[in-house]
Symmetry: C2
Subunit: 338 residues, 2 copies
DNA sequence: CGTTAGCACTCTCCTCTAATGAGTGCCAAC
DNA sequence: GTTGGCACTCATTAGAGGAGAGTGCTAACG
């Protein structure tokens, strides 16, 4: 639909804008990127492309700014190229390895590292917890029918929640139930256990059936969120960017970051893709994200259940960001095995 | 050292500046606060007070701005007055009560609530965990000598960390050790258990002495930080304040907030006082806080081991902030008992 | 001697104006 | 289809002038 030259112009304008932060004019594009065509030619093309929805002008006598549609073209073209890992990769890998062990502390560190390296907000999430091996399940009586449900997953990941059981049981009985559930559950991911457990509970634990049933429901709730553990870091770095000089934009992002659920939803929604997923400006459903982009990369780490991501301005350096994200995601593998 | 009138002037200038955000001039003070004295008189006094370090001028022909020293006087005078609980107290208490149970989720909500109500950054911290009753101690074998140490405290508070034990023990042995330690520890705070446990370990568990010793050391580490659990919320609200129009200031605060340790240190340092503790501008040791104030209030909630706090501009409405902090701190009591 | 009125002075802030310059749209020529 | 030329638009910047707030100082008053 676009001619070769039109495509080149779109990509050049996006690239130029990403580099300089200024609207790109026909003269600049002609001089720096399409030396074969004169400014006037570019000008005509640009007018057409604006009509087609790739550009807009902040005011009549300014250069062109790319729309989400143009960024989309740009990102798609980047994705087809090979990316070279950034030079600092080795250093980052070392930094991560030297961190104190534990999935959570590593991911928290990684999110900050991502933020610092890209000047975006870094994110690291554990997704699909029901695919991770269960190590242990415990109930701790808190008083009355309130009980603490404690699930330890592979690699020392702890999830817990306060629940209400249908009746007040002693700690001994709770321990007994936990032991029986553990017999079935331990060493297997919840997704495999769920069905088996229902049968088992029905057959072997009739006397405390209500309690067990509720316990299973609660474990299910706890592990069934696709994204159950989210680390966000390096938020202060976006303030370095000229795109976030506007207090209103900062506030939009900050308020979004405080709603952990929204972010988790986004991660869940877009991380179903196998590879890198980039959601640009308008493509986001969240109002606060209309000026921003979201980049997500599933990581090899932790049994392929980790997602790394960035939230940054629509005008982010996608090439660099994606390269960094991929490099760190790759490295996470080794660090999280331990 | 200050005459009655001088004190009145200092308090008036601080009050006026907090209300309006503008430097206060002699005329304004004379008209609004000290009707008995003329502007010229106030002017003379103000020049003296400036020399004494209570005021400064942003430029020659502007009114006076209060220094930290003046704020200190103002806050001290507030602290002597009775404060009336804000009207929204009832609503807040209800909101907190309706939240899903669990210390952590409540404190997280409270920190956001504080932020929203005061336009400052809200904080809620659990301090002195070694004073909180232990409910259960567990070790979960992660592989090799890596072990997950899990401590459940009163009210469903879970603390855990990955540790390395001196040798590789089976889960059964670990469970056995955990059971023995629990016998001594459960139902008592760690501070009371620490000594007793050392003796007990020495006498009854010779065969796994090394392991037990290490375990005790690690539990000690885990619980011995005075402030071990910190929730920060509502950061986006400070952007509403005119004091934070400067991106640099926002960045200073944000970067401070990301270093959980620094905040924990501050909370620990100042929360040893019994009552409300206010640290104003220069009085802070952290460079990033020189333009900000920190207000901390120990809460009745959770066995008096909770600290609520605010980080806001030096020019915050201390009277309102402290009243809100105290009201919520008071209410937390009921909510956290459950 | 403390208090007050008066006055000159300073400095910020706002508005208005003019100049600059980047970039466009369009037209006519190649 | 491409290009050079030209008029036009609009944001940005700098400078000038005036208004307003507030001070410091001085001299007079009780």
């Amino acid at each position: 639909m676009l001619t070769e030259r039109q495509l080149e112009i779109v990509l050049s304008v996006v690239y130029e804008y990403i580099q300089t932060g200024e609207p790109a004019g026909s003269r600049t594009i002609s001089k720096k990127y399409l030396r074969g065509s004169s400014a006037a030619t570019i000008r005509n093309e640009m007018a057409d492309l604006e009509e087609m929805g790739y550009f807009y002008q902040p005011h009549t006598s300014a250069g062109r700014l790319p729309t989400s549609k143009a960024y989309r073209l740009y990102v798609d073209s980047i994705m087809q190229r090979r990316r070279t890992a950034p030079a600092e990769t080795e250093q980052w890998a070392k930094d991560i390895r030297e961190r104190k062990v534990g999935v959570e502390s590593i991911l928290s560190y990684v999110s900050e590292l991502l933020g610092k390296a890209t000047n975006c907000v870094g994110m690291a999430a554990l997704s699909a917890l029901d695919e991770v091996e269960i190590q242990r399940i415990n109930f701790v009586r808190l008083g009355g029918s309130a009980v603490l449900l404690l699930v330890v997953l592979d690699a020392g990941l702890v999830h817990h929640t306060n629940i209400q059981l249908p009746c007040d049981l002693s700690q001994d009985v709770l321990d007994d139930i936990a032991r029986k559930i553990s017999t079935v559950a331990c060493g297997r991911p919840w997704s495999q256990v769920r069905g088996a457990l229902a049968t088992y509970v029905l057959s072997g634990l009739e006397d405390v059936w209500d309690t067990c049933r509720e316990a299973v429901v609660q474990i299910d709730l706890l592990l069934n969120h696709k994204t159950s553990r989210l680390f966000v870091g390096g938020a202060q770095h976006i303030l370095n960017l000229p795109d976030f000089q506007d207090i209103g934009k900062i506030q939009a992002v900050l308020s979004l970051l405080e709603q952990e659920n929204s972010i988790a939803d986004m991660v869940e929604r877009y991380s179903i893709n196998q590879g890198v997923s980039v959601t640009i400006g308008d493509e986001n459903t969240e109002e606060e994200m209309k000026d921003c982009s979201l980049v997500l990369v599933p990581s090899a780490g932790y049994g392929r259940r980790t997602v790394l991501g960035l939230i940054g301005p629509q005008r982010m350096d996608y090439e660099k960001s994606i390269a960094i994200l991929e490099a760190i995601a790759e490295n996470l593998n080794d660090s999280l095995v331990q």
